[in-house]
Symmetry: C2
Subunit: 338 residues, 2 copies
């Protein structure tokens, strides 16, 4: 597999990206291309003793920042590392693309430079989240603030295919619709119509799920509009952050509690690892015609390495082809209607 990596995306670029890419190149059977300012990549690698052996560089003079307008990836910043990487992906010079840069720019760039799969109405950002019994997928986590019921149905199909192909054992993933109660009649118009579509979808639809049950793995694929999904993602992060900070504070109170900390340290570390989303390698952008992975803006080398591994798996499991096949009937119907 050939993975193109945006060397200038995220808070820790380019050093941590280069480091993660070098580690992935050494550890996995992947060919890596780093997109970005070639001279700077070589200098940073040299200064930090990172070998670039077997890693290609795709020179790109510009960088798109977090503060830049997403659409500037098509205009002022059309020569940034993210845009250049996406163009190479579209041209078939790589099998997957990874970036820790601006989410908005990546969605915009992927949609217009790589294009959506035929029949998909919107691409969705679908992070893997830390559930009590293992990861679950949240789709959409914020790419589409306002959604129609048919979009939620497509999200469910795409998420289900990804989860059973890449993470699952082929068993159909359990799909749940986020709602304010489990009864069929709960929610607003969007939920009512999406529920009806999901029930008839042929997916392993477990019905409405309440947010309370999401962290305990109520579903493998948690379907929501992007506004709600964004709130779910960030409430989980914010709540976990406050609790873990308080627990840490308790252990630092005095000598007794510091001794307690030493006694539970290995177990607490395992738990933190379970809760650490960087282990999962980021969020696939589903609905785009090539595999694109968004890693967290604060990703360090291990998260980048994991994202490259996941990108290669994403490309190797035929997910795009399966999504194309799943959305085809809807597309055909649409044309028939139109």
């Amino acid at each position: 597999m050939r993975v193109i990596v945006d060397a200038f995306g995220g808070d820790n670029a380019p050093l941590e990206i280069i480091k993660g890419a070098a580690e992935a190149a050494a550890e996995y059977k992947v060919e890596i291309s780093l997109a970005g300012r070639e001279a700077e990549i070589r200098r940073v690698a040299g200064e930090n003793g990172i070998s670039l052996e077997g890693i290609a560089i795709v020179d790109a003079p510009d960088v798109i920042g977090m503060e830049d307008e997403p659409k500037s990836i098509l205009r002022e910043h059309k020569n940034c590392s993210m845009a250049e990487g996406l163009r190479r992906l579209a041209a078939g010079e790589g099998d997957a693309f990874v970036s820790a840069g601006s989410t908005g720019a990546l969605i915009m760039g992927a949609t217009f430079l790589v294009k959506r799969i035929k029949g998909v109405s919107r691409a969705a950002l679908a992070p893997l989240m830390p559930g009590d019994k293992g990861p679950f997928m949240l789709i959409d986590s914020g790419a589409n603030v306002e959604c129609r019921p048919e979009m939620l149905l497509q999200f469910a199909h795409m998420g289900s295919i990804y989860m059973s192909s890449v993470l699952g054992d082929g068993k159909p993933a359990r799909v749940g619709l986020v709602n304010v109660g489990t009864e069929d009649t709960k929610g607003g118009e969007l939920q009512h119509e999406a529920f009806a579509l999901l029930r008839e979808s042929g997916l392993n639809f477990v019905g409405n799920i309440e947010a309370r049950d999401i962290p305990a793995n109520a579903a493998d694929v948690v379907v929501a509009d992007g506004f709600t999904g964004n709130v779910i993602l960030k409430m989980m992060e914010g709540t976990a952050d406050v609790i873990m900070r308080n627990v840490k504070g308790i252990f630092l109170t005095n000598l007794r509690t510091k001794i307690a900390a030493l006694l539970v340290k290995p177990y607490l570390k395992d738990f933190k690892k379970k809760m650490d989303t960087s282990e999962y390698g980021g969020a696939p952008l589903l609905g785009v015609s090539k595999p694109v992975i968004k890693t967290h803006g604060n990703s360090k080398a291990p998260a980048v390495k994991n994202a490259i591994r996941v990108a290669a798996e994403f490309a190797g499991k035929g997910v795009i082809e399966q999504i194309a096949a799943a959305v085809k009937p809807a597309s055909a119907e649409e044309s028939a209607e139109g």
Copy 2:
């Protein structure tokens, strides 16, 4: 203050409700009326050695359950304890009402039997939530799944008045609008329009807040439509639940970790208390013309006692009058337009 308590609402009714009411009657300067089947109340109190001295009983033959349709409080179950309590409240036989029963029925009953404050378009359920630095208010937590921007503005006014009058030191409460980012342009139509209204509201509006920052007290009054609010409430509960369960599991691993548990026990207990919403006494139903408090369905005696204390404070601080004054101009404008 005279507080009417629904003796037959919630999972632990009537015993825990009666117990909590008796404790509140002994501890606070409140006159309590228990609404429900008089014979059963007297029997349960007698069997459990609970003194009903100074507590009045408002006989009501029927009970409304969690599985009953909310609107049945106006029809089949019009003689339930909740309906009878609300009618007595409306008639001025009490200053506030507390129930741990069905949220839907309580909203329906309060709206139609007690009525909304003139000018308020919808009542909102506004629980106090455990933030890192103290409680914050979430409004609306689920009473109104679909909202218009003007409703969010009213929620902000009502929440702000409650927080600065009942919990605050009179300082204007910080009001935040839940959104997918902090920039003014984020979100959908509802957020854009609500943002514009809030900016001009005269409230202490801190702007858009991301869900990630809610548990760390980004605002004292967290404003959202009821669908989003419900997701916030339940994600916080669900995430905290999974983490605390895992932490507990770590402490139970082996002898070493059990020793660690003993060493941190008092501090962990303090933290759990900080996270325990039953300390806050429940959720005011704001916008109704008399103070109504909804306590959690699983409330035990201490939560009921706290709810009665909070109900008396709610009634004593002129919150209803202040809300009536705050929404009056909007109402006058509406009539002028109509």
